[in-house]
C-alpha cells in the first residue's frame, strides 16, 4: 500500500518536474530519501511500537501533504515537509530499535535474576 502511494508520489514529482512550474526545483532526491526512511521504519516493525507507529504515521501524512504542495508547484514547502517527514521516519526507526534493545536488556536482567535464584 505504501509502495503504491510512493509510486504515485514519484509520478507526481515527475509530472511537476516536466511542467516546470514554481520557483524551486522538484525535490526528487528528498522524496527518495524520505521514502527510504519510511520503508526502513516499516520493515523494522515500527507499527508494533505505539510511539514509533505514531511518528511513522506522521511521516506518511506529511509526505501526503508534500505531494499536494508539489501538485500546486510549491516545491519549496514540499521539500520542508519531506525533511520533516524524514525526521519523523528516522525517529520511528530509533524508537523501534530502542524498544527492541530495552526488551533485550530486560530479558538479560531477567535471565541473570533467574540464574541468581537458581544459584541460591
Amino acid at each position: 500500500m505504501h509502495l503504491g502511494k510512493a509510486s504515485g508520489l514519484l509520478a507526481l514529482v515527475a509530472l511537476a518536474a516536466a511542467t516546470g512550474c514554481g520557483s524551486a526545483a522538484v525535490p526528487v532526491g528528498q522524496v527518495t530519501e524520505t521514502q527510504a526512511s519510511i520503508r526502513a521504519a516499516h520493515e523494522l516493525g515500527a507499527e508494533r511500537t505505539p510511539l514509533a507507529a505514531m511518528h511513522l504515521k506522521m511521516a506518511r501524512d506529511q509526505v501526503q501533504a508534500a505531494r499536494a504542495y508539489m501538485a500546486d508547484g510549491d516545491n519549496a514547502e514540499a521539500w520542508y515537509l519531506l525533511k520533516r517527514a524524514e525526521s519523523d521516519a528516522d525517529l520511528a526507526i530509533a524508537l523501534t530499535r530502542e524498544a527492541e534493545m530495552k526488551r533485550k536488556a530486560a530479558q538479560s536482567r531477567h535471565r541473570i535474576e533467574e540464574l541468581g535464584e537458581r544459584a541460591q
Partner: protein, 332 residues
C-alpha cells in the same frame, strides 16, 4: 514525547495559515529549544554526541531562519526537524544506555555462569575425590574381609585337623582303654592265677601278706640239715612247687630270698650260713625256670628273729628261708 508530536502536528497547519505576522519564536522553535536542552542534559550527550550535534545544527538553522524571517515556514520546519533530531538523539542515547545495560547484564550473566560452572566443577571434583576415597575404603574392607575369610578358612582347616586328631586320639584312647581293659583282665587273671598259685603253697609253706609284700616262709628244718646249706631232697620238691607258683605270678614282680638263722653260734657264721642257704634256694628256683634277673638272695643271719631263741621251738621258727614277692617299684 507524544505531547511534542501533537503540538508539532497541530502547528504544521497553523504555520502554513498564520503567515509571518509574529516576531517572537514560533511554538516549534520554543519546543525545539526545550527539547534540545533536554537532549544535552540526557545520556545522549555521552553516548551519541554526533546526534546531539545534528540537533544543534538543525536548531541553529531554525534560529537563523527565525532571525531572517520570524515565524516563517522555514523557521518552523527547521525547528520541527531540530526537535525530532533532539528526540532522536535522546532515543539513541536511551538505546545506547539499554545496550550498555544489556552488555553488563550479559557479562554478569556470563560471570555468574562461569562461577556456577566452577562451583559445579569443584563439586564434581569433590564428589570424585569422595568416590575415590569410598572406593579405596571399600577396597580395604574387601581386602580385610578376604584376609578374614582366609583366616577363617585356615582356622576351619585347623579345626578339621584338630577334629581329626581328636578322633584319632579318641580312637587311640578307645584302643588304649580296650588294651587297658585287656591288661586289667589279664592282670586280674594273673592275680587270680598268682593267688591260686600262692594258695597252692599253703600246704608246703606259710604264706602271708605283709607290708613288704607276700612272704612265703619255709622252715629251715625241711630245707637244710643242721649247719648245712645244701638242699635236702624233700626240700627240692617243695621248692619245685614254689618255683612253679613264682613263675605264675607274673613278670612285674621281683623276688627276694632271705636266709635267717637262730642265735646260737657266731654272728659271722650265722650270716654266712644264711647267705649260702638263701643263695641255694635262689639257685634252685632259677634252675626251675624262675627268671634270674627277678630274683636275688640275701642273708640276714640271726638279726631278724620271729621267735624267742631261748626255746627250741623258737629257734626252730627262726631257722627259716623267706621268699618275699614284691612289686618291682617297692623292692628294697
Amino acid at each position: 514525547m507524544k505531547r511534542w508530536t501533537i503540538l508539532s502536528t497541530l502547528t504544521i497547519g497553523a504555520a502554513l495559515l498564520a503567515g509571518c505576522a509574529s516576531t517572537g519564536p514560533s511554538p516549534e522553535l520554543v519546543d525545539a529549544r526545550r527539547t534540545y536542552h533536554q537532549a544535552v542534559a540526557s545520556p545522549a550527550q555521552h553516548y551519541v554526541p554526533a546526534h546531539v550535534l545534528a540537533a544543534r545544527q538543525a536548531l541553529d538553522r531554525a534560529e537563523s531562519a527565525h532571525a531572517d524571517d520570524a515565524g516563517s515556514f522555514e523557521e518552523r520546519s527547521f525547528a520541527y526537524i531540530a526537535q525530532r533530531k533532539a528526540q532522536l538523539a535522546m532515543t539513541y542515547g536511551s538505546y545506547a544506555q539499554a545496550q550498555r545495560e544489556r552488555a553488563l547484564s550479559e557479562q554478569a550473566y556470563n560471570r555468574a555462569q562461569e562461577r556456577m560452572r566452577e562451583r559445579a566443577r569443584a563439586d564434581a571434583q569433590r564428589a570424585q575425590a569422595a568416590l575415590a576415597q569410598t572406593r579405596q575404603e571399600l577396597g580395604e574392607i574387601r581386602r580385610a574381609l578376604s584376609a578374614q575369610d582366609d583366616r577363617v578358612s585356615e582356622q576351619a582347616q585347623q579345626l578339621m585337623a584338630r577334629e581329626k586328631e581328636l578322633a584319632a586320639r579318641e580312637a587311640e584312647l578307645a584302643a588304649s582303654a580296650g588294651a587297658l581293659e585287656n591288661e586289667r583282665a589279664a592282670r586280674k587273671n594273673a592275680e587270680m592265677t598268682a593267688a591260686a598259685a600262692l594258695k597252692s603253697l599253703q600246704d608246703v609253706a606259710m604264706v602271708k601278706e605283709e607290708a613288704r609284700g607276700t612272704v612265703i616262709t619255709l622252715s629251715g628244718e625241711v630245707l637244710f640239715a643242721s649247719g648245712k646249706s645244701e638242699l635236702l631232697h624233700t626240700a627240692r620238691e617243695r621248692l619245685a612247687q614254689v618255683a612253679q607258683a613264682l613263675k605264675e605270678i607274673g613278670d612285674e614282680k621281683v623276688i627276694l630270698v632271705e636266709g635267717h638263722t637262730e642265735s646260737r653260734g657266731s654272728d659271722a657264721l650265722n650270716l654266712t650260713l644264711s647267705e649260702r642257704r638263701a643263695g641255694a634256694v635262689r639257685d634252685y628256683l632259677v634252675g626251675q625256670g624262675v627268671d634270674a634277673s627277678r630274683i636275688r638272695a640275701e642273708g640276714r643271719g640271726e638279726h631278724e628273729p620271729i621267735a624267742d631263741n631261748s626255746s627250741a621251738e623258737g629257734r626252730a621258727n627262726n631257722r627259716r628261708v623267706e621268699i618275699i614277692i614284691q612289686d618291682s617299684n617297692r623292692a628294697r
